[in-house]
């Protein structure tokens, strides 16, 4: 557990006009770690990721990757959004290559990468389909392949499976864990689904609401693959649930 720090968030503050959304958030993520962030709906989780990638300007504090301020040109970051974000005018294969083309990879390499990750998420036979011919879970697979094809050092995910039913979600979660283990990338995964957080995360940050602060940090040492029916799992899940209790 002595991996180097990958991402360091230091006294992060974000205001929209006068509205304080993120209030003094500090934590760090280690290289190759799978971090889950849980919190009630509307608690500024998305705002946090958007600040991290520079989509929003931050009001105070700092965010660094490998000790340097975030620079998307230098750091290979991939962000998977809550909304469907495949490009409807591109085929599955073109979608998976999209980021590589943006980064001006050689056509040959882009093709090879796309090939590899389409294979890994089981989309190879759908390569020539357009997004509106695919189901919701396949769309998310395209997005995941697109992200991993860039071999990101940091992968941000904002409730990527929020709109899927339970069974598909488990399947995609397992796929994600596989990809994560193979690639060794660092993942920050945001969700409001406690079970999902406990199933995936090596560490769980529990956020509180309005303004958002860190309520508690919980290490999750349950061995993978985890069994959601195991007593230890349920205990941990209840522990997180106690902390949130927004109902």
């Amino acid at each position: 557990m002595d991996r180097p720090v990958k991402v360091k968030v230091d006294h992060l503050v974000k205001k929209f006009d006068e509205l304080l959304v993120l209030d003094d958030i500090s934590f760090s993520v280690k290289q190759g770690e799978f971090l889950c962030i849980v919190g009630p709906t509307g608690c500024g989780k998305t705002t946090f990721l958007n600040s991290l990638t520079g989509l929003y300007d931050i009001t105070g504090g700092s965010i660094t990757i490998d000790g340097e301020p975030v620079d998307l040109k230098k750091h290979r970051v991939a962000y998977i959004f809550q909304e469907y974000s495949t490009m409807p005018w591109l085929t599955v294969e073109q979608n998976v290559q999209f980021a590589l083309n943006l980064k001006r990879e050689k056509a040959e390499k882009a093709k090879k990468q796309a090939e590899k990750y389409m294979e890994l998420v089981g989309l190879t036979e759908f390569r020539d389909y357009y997004p509106d011919q695919l189901s919701a879970s396949m769309l998310q697979r395209v997005v995941i392949a697109r992200a991993f094809a860039t071999e990101p050092e940091l992968l941000l995910m904002d409730e990527p499976y929020g709109q899927l039913d339970t069974e598909l979600r488990y399947r995609l979660e397992n796929e994600l864990l596989n990809l994560w283990r193979q690639s060794g990338t660092t993942v920050i995964f945001i969700t409001h689904n406690i079970e999902e957080a406990v199933y995936l995360g090596e560490r769980i940050l529990v956020l509180s609401n309005k303004p958002t602060t860190i309520k508690k940090e919980i290490a999750n040492r349950l061995p993978m693959p985890r069994d959601i029916a195991a007593p230890e799992f349920i205990e941990l899940r209840n522990q997180v649930t106690e902390l949130i209790k927004w109902w």
Partner: protein, 261 residues
């Protein structure tokens, strides 16, 4: 496919109108032929004009068509080449929008056809004035549609590209333009229609050849048959241009336009 069931009704309806038209004119003589020519007269005049007859307006149908097409396409191409990039630039660059939009909004309520007299005084009744009018007419639809198309770009698509470190230009070309493409194509089509209409108007008002001139001359000589021939040709060419454009754009779009279904 339910519509197919009533195909016979459609045919009967068209035939009825033709028969009625013939009755009113040739048979019952309710309308004098200088006001409403009979279908037969129209066919005769059409055959005469198509076979190269130069009366009563001094040139054959083909000469008129050539003149009209040359002007219309010239003005239209200029309108597209300037209008589409302008609309895109306005939608993508805030500063351009802030500067151009007020002028655009100021001039837009004036129908393009109202510019005709001014342009004729400035550029004479030759090609110049007409090309400018058609240019104005077609440019407006191109700007409006390209602008609206680019504005439809989804925020999340822009964010995806941004987090993958895309430059502003990359986002424009790889995200915004593909989003806008259907709207831009609509703009091309709409503006072709307005270009053709503007041409007819300009030729009616001041010109020495062209289809509009032909029907204007025919009116002055009380030749309703030639007027109707001219109108039919104007309609046919307008429809043909529009289908030609459909064909061209579906080639460019390939199956990608189909997917929107």
């Amino acid at each position: 496919m339910k519509r197919k069931k009533y195909l016979w009704l459609s045919i009967v309806s068209v035939l009825c109108v033709l028969v009625l038209w013939e009755l009113v004119t040739d048979v019952l003589r309710l309308m004098p032929s200088y006001m409403l020519p009979s279908p037969l007269e129209v066919c005769k005049a059409f055959a005469y004009k198509v076979s190269g007859g130069v009366n009563p307006d001094g040139a054959s149908l083909w000469t008129h068509i050539a003149t009209s097409l040359k002007i219309a396409l010239g003005g239209y191409l200029a309108g597209v080449v300037i209008g589409v990039p302008l609309g895109i630039a306005m939608a993508w660059y805030k500063k351009v929008d802030l500067f151009v939009k007020p002028l655009f909004d100021l001039l837009r309520p004036i129908p393009p056809l109202a510019w005709i007299p001014l342009m004729i005084l400035w550029f004479g009744i030759g090609y110049g004035a007409k090309v400018v009018i058609i240019f104005i007419s077609s440019m407006i639809a191109c700007v409006v549609n390209s602008y609206a198309g680019i504005k439809q770009t989804r925020q999340v698509h822009i964010w995806v590209a941004k987090t993958f470190a895309a430059t502003n230009l990359q986002i424009l070309f790889r995200v915004a333009l593909p989003t806008a493409r259907p709207m831009i194509l609509t703009g091309l089509k709409t503006s072709l229609g307005s270009a053709w209409m503007a041409l007819v108007a300009a030729e009616l008002l001041a010109s020495t050849s062209g289809l509009g001139y032909m029907i204007q001359m025919a009116r002055q000589m009380g030749r309703a048959d030639i007027i109707v021939v001219g109108m039919i040709v104007i309609g046919l060419i307008g429809a043909a241009l529009s289908s030609l454009l459909d064909l061209l754009t579906s080639r460019i779009g390939g199956k990608k336009t189909k997917r929107r279904g």
